[in-house]
Symmetry: C2
Subunit: 260 residues, 2 copies
Amino acid sequence: MKRPLILVSNDDGVTSKGIRNLVETMKDLGEVIVVAPNSPQSGMGHAITIGNTLRLDRTDIFGDDVVAYESSGTPADCVKLAKHHVLKDRTPDLIVSGINHGSNTSISVLYSGTMSAAIEGAIEGCPSIGFSLCDYAQDAEFEHTLPYVKAIAQQVLDTGLPRYTTLNVNFPPKRNERIKGIKICRQARAKWEEEFDQRFDPNGRRYFWMAGNFVNFDKGEDNDEWAIANNFVSVVPCQFDLTAHHTISMLNDEWDIKID
Amino acid sequence: MKRPLILVSNDDGVTSKGIRNLVETMKDLGEVIVVAPNSPQSGMGHAITIGNTLRLDRTDIFGDDVVAYESSGTPADCVKLAKHHVLKDRTPDLIVSGINHGSNTSISVLYSGTMSAAIEGAIEGCPSIGFSLCDYAQDAEFEHTLPYVKAIAQQVLDTGLPRYTTLNVNFPPKRNERIKGIKICRQARAKWEEEFDQRFDPNGRRYFWMAGNFVNFDKGEDNDEWAIANNFVSVVPCQFDLTAHHTISMLNDEWDIKID
């Protein structure tokens, strides 16, 4: 039986611990190809590189049995480069992104480079998954997530995903208690309340650091924030049609704009 | 009567023709404050600046009657800076972004810096609109769009928008025929098929330019691509809950992952 082709990307860059763990886990499931950023790209959202050039270079960082490339591009660029240049006529059976160092629950899915790679996979019509660990440490502990990473990837290889959907999978940080299981969730209603820390450079010119506080407004127990807080793996199926379909008829009814 | 407070941003930067037209048009409707990028940020998607500093400087580029700032940040950063630093205790009655030099119909909403500023406005709970002209030229003709820009902004000031929604408004390029009117639409199903133009720098090292071809798969007449092709203004109400709600029950039914 032919081994599945698995494309791996991320947003923390090829040298991060998270992608190393993801590549090692995916090697048990299929042939692994890596195209990932050559430097950290956190918070890049669904950015792509327009009006600038892209680098793409081979790297042996994952050993001899993994074909791997590092790129100057964003996570979305990396998936595009993989699909349309590196792989060309081959279509991945699965695209996985991560494992991100940090949470991508709730509203963070919009800002997430990890998820932009997964969403780009879905746009390309490939089953895809973004994995994130709710622990920002560079030396975060990933061991407890790996049996779930493997099982979820195998599930998607076996049963696929509805077309044009991707999965946003988040793991609780390593705790004393074992993970309780998986919850299929919706995206929690939450936001970042930003604070801007104003400073002055040696020339006396002002600059800022953005420092956000995460605020969860969601009282439900069917969302990803609840799942993580209660030591479950959260799995949010995501799609990329942003249309607020339920408001179309209302606007059609309410608006009456005529320009002479 | 108190004049409404209107925050203006964009992704082409403060010097672009599109934002100049938008600011002039908004001055008829209220008090205008500008916080926009100091350089072009096209294709930045919903990127935010993490792990790097932000600049924010006053500019008099829009004349004496408009308080304006230019920032090194992304469009989403600009809205965050405006809301949480520049305006602080004042909440905009309307946030507008654009007018973008280039189309943001269908899938481009995901890659669009223009729309990320509008979506960020919606996240902050403010009525917001992203305006884009389907003409990429720096000296594009905006005149034919301005009566619609003004009327749509006035409509939203008058009747508001459903909470957590924003509008993705696209205008056809200047044609011989007059614009036929407004269509409230859904996002068309389309994608960019990328081609990577491979070149070599003077040191012999490889680099790429991304060159995309837009492919429209959508046969419907209720979507934004159809509207623009038929010389209507397209208005797509957008929301930022990416959950594919309709797939949750299916995944709950299909999956049976247990880790011992």
